[in-house]
Structures are given as C-alpha cells and as structure tokens.
C-alpha cells in the first residue's frame, strides 16, 4: 500500500514539475535589466534566436528597454517554428488551454482573424491618426478585424511578376506601366507570341507552379481580386457566393488555359526562370535578392501583376506577413500596445530589412532605405505594395480557405476538372468549419 502511495507521490511531483511550466512573471532583479519600478512585459516571437530575424527582434527589444528605461521591461522568448507551422503554434495552443500566454506575441497575418475570433488576442489601445498613418494601408488592413485594430507587422511582403529583360527585348515586347497592367487576354497573346521563342530555348514562356501550402493562395488569389471577386464575405463568415463565384471560376479556368496551351510546365522544373529558360515568373519579393546575389547575369525586371479584363483599378496584389499582437491575457493593454508599436516601428522595420531583407511596414522606413529609391525593381515592388496591396481573406477558418484554394487550383488547372463543381465542393468543406462560428 505504502509503495503505491510513494509511486503516486512521485507521479504527482513529476507531473507538477513537467506540467507546471506555466510561467509566472519574474521579480525585479531576477532577469538582467529588469529593475524595481518597471512594468514587466513578456513577448514571444516565432523565430530562432541565432537567425538574422531573431537577432533583429532581440535588438528591437533591447532598444525598447533602453527607450522605456524605468517604465517598462520587455523580456523576449524565442519559440522556433517548423516549416509546416508547428512548434510555435503548438506552444500558443497549449497556452490557450493551460494559461500562460505572454503579453505580446507574433501572429501570422492570415491567422489574425481566427486568433481574434477565439479571444486569444485583444484589440490594441487606440492609436492616433498620425501613428496609424505611418503604416502602409495593407498592414492596417491586415491587422483589423471588425473595425478593431489587433496587430501591427514589422514586415510586409509582396509577390513580384518578374520578367527576363533580355528575352522580352528579343521578342520585341513592351512592358506596361504599373497603372496599366496587362489584362488576362492581353497576357495570353503575349504568351502565345513567346511560345516559339521559348520552345527554341527548351523552356516555357512562364515559370509557374501551384504548390501545396500557403503559396498558391498568396500568389494567385490576386487573379480573383482583380476581377472584383472576393473569397469570403466581409465578416469572414460566409463563403457561398464568394469562394464559388463566377469570378473565382473564371480565374481557375484561366490557369487551365495557360496549362493546356503549354505556356508553363505541368511538373515544376527547378530554376527554370533563373537559368534563362522562362520569360516570366511569379515569386516572392525575396526573388530580387536571390537573383542579385546568385544569378547576377540574369537581367531582371518587375512587371505589374496581370489583371482580369474586368479590373476596375482596385487593390489586388499580394501582401501579408507576421505581425505583433497583444494577447488577451495581458493586463496592461496600454503597455502592450507600446511594445507592439515599437516592435513594428520605423527603426525595427529598417533593422529587419538590413538583417533579413524582408520589406519594412512603414512609409518612413521605406524612405530611409536607399535601395527602394535607387533600384527600379525594389521600387516597383514598393509601389505595387503601397498602391495595390490587398490582404488575404480575413476569416477565422483561413487555413481551410487556403487549403481549398490550392486544391481547386490544382485539380482544375492541372487535373482539368470542372472549376464550378470543384469550387462548390470546397464551399461545403469550408462551411463545415464555419459552423462553429455561425452557431455561436
């Protein structure tokens, strides 16, 4: 009997040690730099400390502590995240259940709605008009859910529609200016003109793939937006009539046409564009840096993103990145908002650009980085972001919307299935996930 008590005691002790990892705020003096009279603020970031990004966050936190010496003390914790999104989100999920969320945490742009809808993050304290106006509109739009501002990003991202200047010149094609992009029909003609030339080069007019994961919706949802379509309703709780609208179906059929006519390779070919065997490519803004450093012989240009024939001049290009938000567990939203503003502010933005080559999120940061004024490609991406940036769908079931978009794209463009049927099928799937929010 006694040994079972011993055993039980040991089990409880170990369980308490292992599960009792819930953090308690340290006392002043316990953490280097945290002094008496300062308010303690914990912050989690989704990065490894030893990376450039991690160092940038570390420096931003240190500068915050210097600037608010005697008032606030921010303590940063690095929570690595794996490629499929685990790790960091697992820790957040566990803390949602067990308690112990920090005051401020990073949230991926498309997840802001879900975190807000489930009460994991809370609206930031009011920002002045001037403070809000410092950020690119896409950052404010991304962080806003039901008219409340929840998150501010330090970095913004975009996708470029790149072209090989030498090939375009050889084919005698003229690139339009940013406000007069090629329409779908015009672009099909261009691809048709380029096909014989690219066949000769053992390549394709377009280097494009529809990979599983976030990439597909991020790169190709603009085709829906430029036609005036949306993937979800304004409140994010309805998809029928949006996700399966005629505009979405038309965009999917457009991709099918590109594949059918052999303007792109059905199976992805590595470095097709970089090796000079493709005239165009859609890729993240990081591609500019990749080409400059690894393919200096490639004559790179950025063309405006292709638009639907029905484009009315509205916003449509890809945006979005990780952002800082205040958790629902923070007791002093004013202090947490200060930290969020600092971490996403001008200096932090310049730092993130210098260390990671991710775009900053404020006008002033862009103005202070020479390359955005002097390099035509970076400038084109910046202009595209500020003038035409459109956030990804804001809905608490975003992961399903993203997966569904990719699946339809793949089955229609590559599999040749009927777009409308596939979209309708996915609407049912998304609706199932939405039930939880509609019901409550």
């Amino acid at each position: 009997m006694k040994k079972w008590r011993l055993c039980l005691g040991a089990a409880v002790l170990a369980a308490a040690c292992l599960t009792g990892c819930q953090q308690k705020d340290p006392e002043p003096g316990e953490v280097a730099g945290y002094d008496e009279g300062e308010e303690y603020l914990s912050i989690w970031v989704h990065s490894i400390e030893d990376t450039e990004e991690g160092q940038a966050y570390r420096e931003s936190v240190e500068s915050f502590n210097e600037a608010f010496d005697g008032q606030y003390f921010a303590d940063i914790e690095f929570v690595p995240r794996n490629d499929s999104g685990g790790g960091y989100s697992d820790k957040v999920n566990a803390s949602v259940m067990a308690g112990g969320l920090p005051d401020v945490l990073t949230v991926d742009g498309p997840n802001i709605s879900a975190y807000a809808a489930n009460g994991i993050i809370q609206p930031l304290a009011d920002l002045t008009e001037e403070e809000e106006g410092a950020y690119l509109p896409s950052i404010i739009e991304q962080g806003t859910v039901n008219d409340d501002l929840y998150a501010l990003g330090v970095m913004e991202s975009s996708v470029g529609f790149y072209y090989n200047k030498d090939i375009i010149e050889e084919a005698g094609i003229e690139i339009p200016d940013a406000d007069h992009p090629w329409t779908w029909s015009e672009f099909l003609d261009i691809l048709e003109d380029l096909k014989p030339l690219m066949d000769k080069k053992d390549g394709y007019p377009l280097d494009m793939t529809f990979p599983v994961g976030e990439t597909s919706i991020y790169y190709y949802a603009p085709f829906v937006w430029s036609g005036g379509g949306e993937l979800v309703s304004d409140d994010g709780l309805e998809v029928d009539g949006y996700f399966n609208s005629e505009t979405t179906a038309a965009a999917m059929d457009y991709f099918r046409t590109i594949v059918e006519n052999g303007y792109m390779s059905e199976a992805p070919i590595d470095h097709l564009f970089e090796s000079g065997r493709a005239a165009f490519k859609f890729d993240g803004a990081w591609e500019v840096n990749t080409v400059y450093t690894s393919y200096p012989d490639l004559n790179l240009g950025v063309a405006p993103y292709v638009v639907s024939d029905d484009w009315d001049g509205g916003t449509y290009t890809p945006t979005g990145s990780w952002a800082f938000a205040a958790s629902s567990e923070t007791e002093d939203i004013g202090a947490a908002t200060e930290l969020v503003k600092w971490m996403s502010g001008v200096d932090s933005g310049i730092r993130i650009w210098e260390m990671t080559k991710n775009f900053p999120s404020t006008y002033e940061a862009f103005e202070n980085i020479d390359v955005f004024q002097t390099d035509e490609n970076y400038n084109a991406l910046y202009e595209q972001l500020t003038n035409y940036g459109h956030p990804r769908p804001k809905t608490p079931v975003y992961p399903q919307v993203s997966t569904s978009f990719q699946e339809v794209l793949e089955s229609v463009a590559l599999g040749g299935k009927d777009a409308q049927t596939e979209l309708d099928k996915q609407v049912e799937r998304i609706d199932q996930k939405l039930e939880r929010y509609v019901r409550e």
């Binding site: 170990a14 949602v96 259940m97 879900a114 489930n118 599983v212 199976a267 699946e407 793949e410 939880r436």
Partner: protein, 299 residues
C-alpha cells in the same frame, strides 16, 4: 529484504512509470475523451460533448475515406516489396564472398538518414530533369512526371520508402540467417537437396518467426506514412498521396480541430490493432506459436 527489494524496484520502475503516464497513457486516454467532443484548440472553453457525431462525420468525409484508401494502397505496395526485398538482400549478402561489410553498410545507410533528407533527395531524382528521367531518356523512354502526377505519385513514394526502409529489415533477416544451424544445410547437402529445396525447407521455416515480426513492423510502419508525402507532394497531386496520419495532423494542427483529429486517431488505431491481430493469427501455425514469439522478441 523483500521490502528493500520492492523499494529498489520502485526506484527503478517509478521514473519510467511517471514518464510513460504523462507522455503516453494520459495522452491516449485524453485522445479517447476528446474524440467524443468538438474540442477546438484555439478555444478549449467552448468544448461540447458530441457523442458519436465525430465518428459518423469522418466516415462521411470524402477526404478521410480517400486518405484511408491511399494508406491501404501504400501498405499493399510497401509490405510485400520491403519484406521480400529485405529477405533477398539478406540472402545475397549472406552468400557474398567479398565486400560483405560494404554492402551491409551501403544498404543500411538510408535507414539512418533522416526521412526528410531522403525525401528531398528523391525529389531531385524524380524531378522532370532529374537523374531518373535522364536515365529513361537514354533508353528512349519519355520523361515521366512521377510525383507530379496523380497516378504515379503514390507508387513513386512507395518505391522510395521501400528503398529507405529495406536495410533495417535486411539486418534483422541477416541476424536470423546467421543463427541457423549450419549442420542443417550440411545434412541437406548430403541428401543432395537443391538450393531451392534448402531455402524452402530449411531457411524459410527457420526464419518464419522473424518473418512474422518483420511483416507486422513493416505494416505498422507503412500505415504511419507521413513524412514522405508531406515533404515531397504535400499530399497531392489531387490528394493522391494524402495519408491518414497526414489528415490527422492537418485536422488537428493546421485547422485546430483537435476533437475530430482525435476521432480519426482512435479509428486509425483500432484499425491497425485489428489488422495486427489478424496478421498474427494468420501467420501463426501451431508449431510456430511456441518458439515464434520467443525468437521474435529476442530479435
């Protein structure tokens, strides 16, 4: 003395029990409990008991059914290929006169490599302009899409998995072969038994308990297929390589639907357990029953 022994015993047994309870038994019980709820990772407070609703829903879910069938297809390809392949390799190495160690290491290396690394390597091999297509081109065969085509992706990944895992079972068989009493073969030779007869009447019966062990472990391993499709195809094209474990992962981690994911995990576990029992019953004869388990355990 007895008391002292029991305290000593507890001291050794205790830590393992505690850790197993926290990291194995408790999660298992919780998974079972969650499977009857609509537990949502982002908002656990709103969890409701839903009875058998999840169980009914997953069988109506086309994607779950497809992932289930895909997994079965993987098992059907991988299990025979890997078991027979391992046996053939073990026999060959056992007979080899030279470079035994070299071959052993060569076949075993993929086993110690990370699955993610192996998968990335094979993505290059299978790529449209990769080694395999270049080889095929030499024989005048058109380039194949392999993992980029819905009908070829699953077999392509299965072949890669066999290549990756076969070395482990080969070592087990090799150990078994070297344990067979040479006197049996000597006696057979004196009776002028052919090589085939020796294999059929000595090698196979002696290896039978090991075969059962290998068969079951390979089957369970194949059912747990996740990393290869995750890295190489993301479950595509058109869900052709989407497996049950992948579906459980996506449902629980990406879509935060822990209740539903738990139900899938329970259904999956029950299925594998039933299959293992059936395999055990089918592969056991009366004689094998006695020393079969002993040997399998010893290995």
């Amino acid at each position: 003395m007895k008391k002292k022994n029991s305290i000593m015993g507890m001291a050794f047994f205790g830590p393992a029990l505690v850790l197993l309870t926290i990291f194995l038994f408790l999660p298992m019980v919780l998974t079972l409990v969650f499977s009857f709820t609509d537990y949502f990772a982002l908002n656990p407070e709103l969890t409701h008991f839903v009875g058998l609703e999840n169980y009914l829903n997953i069988f109506k879910d086309e994607l779950f059914v497809q992932s289930f069938l895909n997994t079965v297809k993987f098992v059907i390809i991988i299990v025979p290929c890997q078991c027979i392949g391992a046996l053939v390799l073990a026999l060959a190495i056992n007979k080899a006169a030279h470079c035994k160690k070299y071959f052993k290491v060569a076949f075993f290396v993929p086993v110690v490599m990370s699955l993610a690394v192996v998968s990335t390597l094979w993505m290059q091999i299978y790529s449209p302009e990769g080694i395999l297509n270049t080889l095929l081109a030499n024989f005048g065969i058109d380039a194949q899409p392999f993992i980029h085509n819905a009908s070829q992706a699953l077999p392509s990944i299965a072949v890669m998995s066999v290549w990756q895992g076969v070395g482990y079972q080969m070592i087990i068989f090799l150990g078994g072969l070297q344990n067979i009493n040479p006197a049996l073969y000597e006696a057979a030779e004196m009776d002028h038994a052919s090589s085939w007869q020796q294999f059929k009447d000595i090698t196979l019966p002696e290896l039978k308990p090991l075969c059962v062990f290998v068969f079951i472990t390979v089957t369970i391993g194949a059912f747990r297929m996740l990393v290869q499709p995750m890295v190489m195809t993301g479950g595509g094209p058109d869900h052709s390589t989407y497996t049950i474990v992948y579906d459980i992962y996506e449902t629980g981690t990406v879509n935060w639907e822990m209740g539903l994911a738990s139900t899938m995990a329970i259904v999956f576990t029950v299925f594998v357990v039933i299959l293992t029992i059936i395999q055990n019953v089918l592969t056991k004869d009366k004689e094998g029953k006695k020393h079969g388990i002993k040997k399998a355990k010893a290995n």
